[in-house]
């Protein structure tokens, strides 16, 4: 059980890292704050997942993010939340 938990976490990290490449075309990995596109590093994971999910349901407005989130599974979203959540902003 313990092994599975660790292995899953490793798999999740690989998935999050892979998916993050789509985000970094617009969101800076440094978490640098700029007007126009919000920084996404260092967020609480549940908040990150909730925001992505609301784009996915097209509740939250924004053409680009709606189109991105539409294709992300719940597992994808939590993997991204963990990946970006573990980074800290370098202002």
């Amino acid at each position: 059980m313990f092994w599975w938990g660790r292995a899953e976490a490793a798999g999740n990290e690989v998935l999050g890292r892979h998916l993050s490449a789509e985000c970094t075309a617009c969101h800076q990995l440094s978490g640098k704050s700029v007007t126009g596109i919000p920084p996404i590093v260092g967020w609480p994971e549940d908040q990150f997942t909730a925001v992505l999910a609301s784009y996915g349901r097209k509740e939250r407005g924004g053409q680009v993010m709606q189109a991105i989130a539409a294709k992300l599974s719940h597992g994808d979203m939590t993997a991204l939340a963990a990946y970006f959540g573990a980074l800290s902003p370098k202002p």
Partner: protein
């Protein structure tokens, strides 16, 4: 509960892959060699991600002839006075320092696909296990009658960076009030589909804000329609009145010839004499190094496998960005950067046992129409029926509020900074 269990199962493939991420394909073997030709959004991104994700098992050499990359993306903002030229410049120091990429500051002159090697101008021979090509475009200098490479000073294209981009701005500055700018737009497929129309917007903006309100911009198009036309045209009218005139082939009846010495443009319907400035954007094709390697038909672009970005002619070679045929994806910096990440994943999977995930693509192209007024078009894409096909698209709407347009321009500016960081740092 079901969710967690399914996730666990779905994740298990990635777990196994993760365990082998840092192992070379054969232990003890020398590093696998990847050569990347072209340090633009396609090539520099591919070099970075392969070096970063190769787990130390891959030696990456980036071949780029210029010391500094000058971006065509946002060069229209330079023309419009929204950016300095220096803001379009990027260096490769961070890529070499951070990821251990070897930079070969040379022109690649030939690819020997039989022996898998790239030959550089100084005679160096770089053997490769995988080759990534992202050389951008070459111009078809014979595609507009009367125009040629010798005429590119008198009638600049500004579709390759450097002096050409700066000439566009200089010629714009010299246009007298009442003068006519003629832009000859390119036929499909070409680099940056909305680019000519964003540039025409910048011409009108500069003319208007410098009091040259009687000058006009005539776009002679070989196409019947253009990217974001339904948003650009009402916006032009709103922002610039009748200053920008767009003429389809059925209206101008074809571009018959240009005379660079006299500044004349002859169409089937009309002759434009003493033009203040003629901007000829010719037809385009894949960069020479890719064409000469036999990866594209004469005068064309390189066919790729949509799942991997590999050339359909050679499974050891990837072709990215403007040089490839990417189906529904436009030729943009965004697309090139995005395609590079797919290629990097495939390379790391094949050479370093990295994980393979389903291939998908994304693109957005922003265009500035007037200060604080930008529009966008974009979509999500997937491999389907042998090509990259759009699965969901979005586009700005005519008549959106000023606030939406202001926000779209803020996105555009932030995107440039983020993608530059993603490519070059």
């Amino acid at each position: 509960m079901t969710q967690t269990r399914r996730h666990l199962v779905a994740g298990s493939g990635a777990i196994l892959a993760a365990a082998s991420l840092c192992m070379p394909a054969v232990l003890g073997q020398a590093k696998a060699r990847v050569v990347v030709v072209g340090g633009g959004p396609g090539g520099a991104t591919a070099a970075k991600y392969i070096a970063r994700d190769g787990g130390g098992a891959i030696a990456v050499t980036l071949v780029e002839e210029n010391e500094t990359y000058q971006s065509c993306f946002h060069s229209n903002l330079y023309v419009g006075g929204f950016k300095s030229y220096e803001q379009l410049l990027h260096r490769y120091d961070a890529l070499t320092a951070t990821y251990g990429i070897t930079l070969a500051r040379q022109r690649a002159v030939r690819i020997d696909r039989d022996t898998k090697a790239v030959l550089l101008a100084d005679g160096t021979r770089l053997p490769y296990d995988r080759l990534v090509l992202s050389p951008g475009i070459d111009l078809k200098y014979d595609s507009v009658p009367g125009w040629s490479q010798d005429a590119e000073e008198a009638m600049p294209h500004g579709w390759k960076p450097g002096r050409q981009t700066q000439l566009i701005r200089q010629k714009l500055e010299a246009v007298p009030d009442g003068g006519t700018i003629v832009m000859i737009a390119p036929p499909n497929p070409y680099r940056c589909p909305p680019g000519p129309y964003e540039r025409a917007s910048m011409f009108a903006h500069v003319l208007r804000t410098t009091g040259r309100t009687k000058a006009r911009v005539v776009i002679l198009d070989p196409k019947d329609s253009f990217s974001k036309q339904g948003v650009f045209m009402p916006d032009w009218e709103k922002r610039y009145g009748s200053m920008i005139e767009w003429l389809a082939p059925r209206v101008h009846d074809g571009i018959k010839s240009v005379d660079p010495a006299k500044g004349t443009v002859v169409t089937g319907f009309e002759t434009y004499e003493n033009c203040a400035f003629v901007n000829v954007i010719p037809a385009q094709m894949a960069g020479a190094i890719a064409r000469e390697a036999g990866l594209a038909p004469a005068g064309g672009y390189c066919a790729i496998d949509p799942a991997t970005m590999k050339s359909t002619a050679d499974p050891a070679v990837f072709v990215l960005g403007d040089a490839c045929i990417a189906g529904d994806m436009p030729k943009s910096a965004f697309s090139a950067n995005n395609q590079a990440k797919v290629a990097a994943m495939v390379v790391c999977s094949e050479l370093a046992g990295g994980p393979a995930f389903p291939t998908r693509y994304f693109n957005t192209c922003w265009s500035l129409v007037a200060p604080d007024d930008a529009i966008k078009v974009g979509g999500r894409y997937e491999p389907r029926d042998g090509r990259i096909a759009a699965t969901e698209t979005f586009i700005s709407q005519p008549g959106e509020s000023d606030e939406v347009r202001r926000q779209t321009q803020a996105e555009n500016m932030a995107w440039y900074d983020a993608i530059s960081a993603d490519i070059f740092t």
